[in-house]
Symmetry: C2
Subunit: 382 residues, 2 copies
């Protein structure tokens, strides 16, 4: 069975879709195959792999965003590569190496601009989404992290070295930059809420986190959970959690705690802590099912073979299972009926029913990490 | 210029896309042309009409939902027609007349079932999304309104005659029905919040509204705003507002008031009233921009040439303009940078920048009403 599936994938690698075959793109997605610099094109409805696209360079810590028409993926590689992939023709449309060491990217709300944040040289570069021509170069003098899109053709990003957040408004001929100092010591990652209003940075150099209300005329840093953070230095941190894993579940955010075996619950209005749930290991992602009723959590090495599911009303773990070695990512279908899970060292993407927890299918993949469905094209901050 | 545009549309009507031409569907949409029983296929990125699809029967009060792959639209006509439209081949894939008088429909979270609510005979019929074969017939003995999808392969709908809401769980071989009496006198419409948790019915026969928490083990009717409603019977109601127009703006719902020149603001957690904003006329739709910062409102006849934009922080009207005669619907692009407006008696769809309010384009359309972008495929309750 395994060889049959692999054979089918191999055949698909070299065959673009038949001429004239219509392609609707709403239920497709890409899986990052980190070891080989390739992407696996997947079909949600068919629960199948359709094709492999190769030649994307170093994808060891990669992510991607989608064009508004769900045709093109912009893939951000750790090596500074920016690759535009056409999932209709199943080919690389264009590829540039735009910096020496990049950390992530975003696409503007109108789909016309793609921005990349870089460690080396530190800053943000903005490209035309159509041609990948450079539109704006914004040096920051710092490693630059937490780059997200915000409504109004804006990008928001943060400086590791000096703890400043910048808002770049790209609606005019030149970027208009607003600088917000005092975000804290060594912000290491950030997120924007799904309505584009609140931007939150995690801090490596001090306790707590920092939030910004982007609806304010002059956004000011708001210190959140000042008594909590990575300050308990006696706990080794195996992996810094991903803040994109923050999730709104009901009226609360769920946050993977740094260096602790727990997730934190925080009131979405005033950021006060509303509870903690003890977990199997150090959480990496805590992701709410799209309806917010359940939160799925995976864990850092060496406990990364396990997933726990937490009920957001009772805050209790209601299900635990071991998909296999190195569970790296979980992606829900847009209305939440299934979840697709990357199990890197099993070389599988596994698909589960989110109501019954039944495993529905396994798909072969080579060292899979991030899974990105096209529906992300329509979300702020993804 | 006008005749050129019409000429282009006429040509497209008879030409499917060229063989081998790829079609990504993420930025497409359909406009209901109510007078002629036709649909206009539109392209968000190109700000253009691509084709007209005809033969859909009576579309005088029609709506539609999208398949998860964003290829097929299921169109619910007032005449009981259920039409499956393929926007890739630009043709009707299948059409049935499933009842004498229908009021709307929904698609299950897994995309496999399409449900239609009917006045005559009263009830809900559920069809296979692929074949349109009847899967389940759920007679209710009442005009049936407010049909929505909910997570877990469920449909929720409400009986006008006896004020009951039913939850039909379609995950087993037969529908499992939960009946909730006491929803109030003559519910006329309903909505579900975007996380699928809260279902709210508007009442025609008494003051206030009724909410259900679908996360409760046994959902019980919650009476909302008991002192408010259509009770002030001296005000003529020109048109009952659409409850699908409810919008979450920040932490509040915005509700078009019935029979009054105002919108109501309601706390999203406990449903208490937080404010009212005086408006130009009786609101029909009050729709939040996807980021929730602005709410766009249109109005009932005879004041239906106007749109007002309300800031959700100050609750003040910040912009007012008159697109033209009979503004029937407004649809935002998924991340909110543009809004598309149907101006029925101008025979135009008008496109506006939501930040500057500048008009960007007009597209010819025949008596346009509802506008439905494919991104709705990925939302609960749309």
């Amino acid at each position: 069975m395994k060889s049959l599936v692999l054979g089918a994938i191999a055949a698909l690698m070299i065959s673009p879709p038949a001429q004239g075959e219509p392609t609707a793109t709403g239920d497709l997605g890409l899986v990052i195959e980190r070891a080989n610099g390739s992407l696996l094109l997947i079909d949600q409805s068919e629960r199948a792999a359709l094709a492999r696209i190769e030649g994307l360079g170093d994808l060891s810590h990669a992510s991607l965003v989608w064009s508004p028409d769900e045709r093109f993926a912009y893939v951000f590689g750790r090596d500074g590569g920016l690759t535009k992939v056409d999932i209709v023709t199943r080919q690389i449309a264009k590829r540039i190496v735009q910096a020496g060491n990049s950390i992530g990217g975003a696409i503007s709300d109108d789909g016309r601009l793609v921005a990349v944040s870089n460690y080396e040289p530190g800053g943000v570069r903005v490209f035309d989404a159509d041609t990948l021509d450079l539109v704006a170069d914004i040096p920051t003098g710092s490693k630059t992290i937490g780059l997200v899109d915000a409504p109004g053709n804006r990008f928001v990003f943060t400086m590791w070295d000096m703890g400043e957040t910048w808002i770049a408004d790209m609606s005019g001929p030149q970027p208009a930059i607003t600088k917000i100092p005092g975000m804290g010591i060594n912000p290491y990652d950030a997120l924007i809420t799904s309505n584009g209003r609140t931007y939150i940075t995690g801090l490596f150099g001090e306790d707590g986190m920092t939030a910004l209300d982007l609806w304010a005329d002059t956004p000011e840093p708001i210190h959140v959970l000042p008594g909590y953070g990575r300050g308990q230095k006696d706990m080794p941190v195996y992996k810094m959690p991903h803040l994109e894993g923050w999730a709104l579940a009901g009226d609360e955010f769920v946050l993977p705690a740094v260096g602790h075996h727990e997730v934190l619950w925080i009131d979405a209005r005033d950021f006060h802590e509303t509870g903690r749930t003890r977990t199997h290991g150090q959480p990496v992602f805590a992701i709410a099912r799209p309806d917010g009723r359940h939160v799925w959590v995976n864990f850092a090495h060496p406990l990364n073979d396990t997933i726990q599911v937490i009920d957001s009303v009772t805050k209790a773990v209601i299900h635990q299972f071991t998909p296999g070695p190195a569970v790296l990512h979980m992606e829900f279908t847009p209305r939440g009926h299934e979840v697709w899970v990357s199990v890197r060292d099993a070389n599988k993407v596994m698909i589960y029913d989110t109501q019954t927890f039944e495993k529905l299918r396994e798909i072969d993949a080579q060292s899979p990490s991030g899974i990105f469905f096209t529906a992300r094209a329509h979300r702020i901050g993804l």
